[in-house]
Amino acid sequence: MFSADLFANAVVSGLLLGGFYAAVAIGLAIVFGQLDIVNIAHPAFIIAGSYTAYIFNSTFGFDPVLVGVAAMPVFFAVGVAIYRIYYAAFERTGQESLSGLAFFFGLMFIIEVSLILVYGVDYRLVSAGYATGALSIGFVDLPGRMLVPFLVALALTGLIWLYLSRTFMGRAIQAVAQDRGALQLMGADPIRIKQWAFGIGIATAAVAGALLIIIGPVEPSVGRQYIGRAFAIVVLGGMGSIQGMLIAALLLGVVENMVATFYGPSWAPAVSFGILLLTLAFRPAGLFGR
């Protein structure tokens, strides 16, 4: 039953999957972890990214990753607009806990149902040369459809980390997360910084969506499975820490893949939620929290 190469393959493909999960969760690590905005519609934006990649890939034959990167400014603008509405309707009046949550829930639902209305519930996929091949090292297989998303996700995570820790605006975003009042005293406008950060968070969904549809076919309601994963990763990673998020994502990928390999794939969805519930119950500050 138990064999070394099965185990090694499960670990390696779990790591590849986990890398992709980092791309799914990074937008939420900024929006939920740093800005404290509970955007449960984030996976719906990722699915919107998948469909963007699908549309441009199937009609013009563009590479999905390039489409994802090119779509980032549009997603950024949408994110900024949504934050403006969110701020004006809920944050300013202190209604974010109940109405704000319901707002994003409704938004998620609208995105999902609109996609179903236009494209139906059929699975859609993209074609890319690297998605079919595989790299073999010893007895470990590295399929291209997992390897490319893994590398792109790591690059995205690295860039965001550099942005947040090295640039002026990135540090300003972290300052908003730490102490909004102090930032205001320094003469900066927290609302402008937050809308910028929210835009970046949504922009990452364009790339994550392209990666998702490279890994496998996508239909509109797939996004729901990523709500739990993304929140589990952000909470486990210690809310807003990019390094913690990456480690949590890799960990979740490996554990989920182990469960899928040794117990059957039908149990995999429960893993992230189980981890999330246990983290919330016993260590809400996350693995690396203070």
Binding site: G228, S272, L280
Partner: protein
Amino acid sequence: MRGWGFPAACAAVVVAGLAFTELADNPYYFNAAYVILQALIMAVAWNILGGFTGYVNFGSAAFFAVGAYTSIALLKAAAVPLPLLILAAALVCGLIGLGVGYLTLRLKGVYFAIATLAMGIVLETLINNWSYVGGAKGTAILTPDKHLWFDSYSEMLFMVMLLLALGSVAVSRTLSSSRLGRGLAAIRDDEVAAECSGVPTLRLKLVSTTVMGAMMGAAGAPYPYFVSYVDPLSAFNLFIAVNSIAMPMIGGTAHWAGPVVGALLVGSAQEVITVTISSELNVLLVGIMLVLFITLAPQGIVGLVRKHWKKRA
């Protein structure tokens, strides 16, 4: 007058319901009424936690589905009568509500909301892998032949739902005007201040999650008889969760009548749209209405009407 108004109204509704079963004979009416009443119970239940304390439950569909699957599990074992099924489902879901509340309500509100989302997927996975109740394929439940003095089983189910709905409205109304309800309102307005003034916040929140869970379970218990075929996909349907949030939000969360008004209006509109246009569009409209109402009229319909009356007075 004030003390007698509500029981009299309830009695009138029961009489009207009985008259309806005698006069109407198109089964569609009973099916439509059942769906609306089911949504009404879910909305009233959601509001006991969401509206009264401000904690958002995204897992309404999970409570509902567990109620339905409690029935199925019992029916697979023995021919349990419907009232017992409802009681058992209420008990199981009340305990689940208590458990989730105990694990997460000591944290910030958002964690409770995310945990309820998480709970839904965990429970769905469990049911998908539990072959005794049909697993992912689902299971068929035969509707019994006996239906008291009613013309058909769906007429009887309609009356059962009507009584359950009146019961849940009565519970919600009593809660909102009781000492407990004032404690819940204090939590919603300022939890720290409530705690400091001696309101046992955790206990009150646990009471309301338990009541909410029990009501949702009771709403789900007759569902297998109503559809006669249940699979995890339909029982854990996100639409149920969206409806139970949208209806109180549209009706108004601060008053016990809000979810009732919201459920009756939105539920009836949904039936009309499903029949005349399409069911997908209906689902989309609920999402849009939810977002529009919470951004533009956060007090809901009841809030708007009250404001209007205050202005005139």
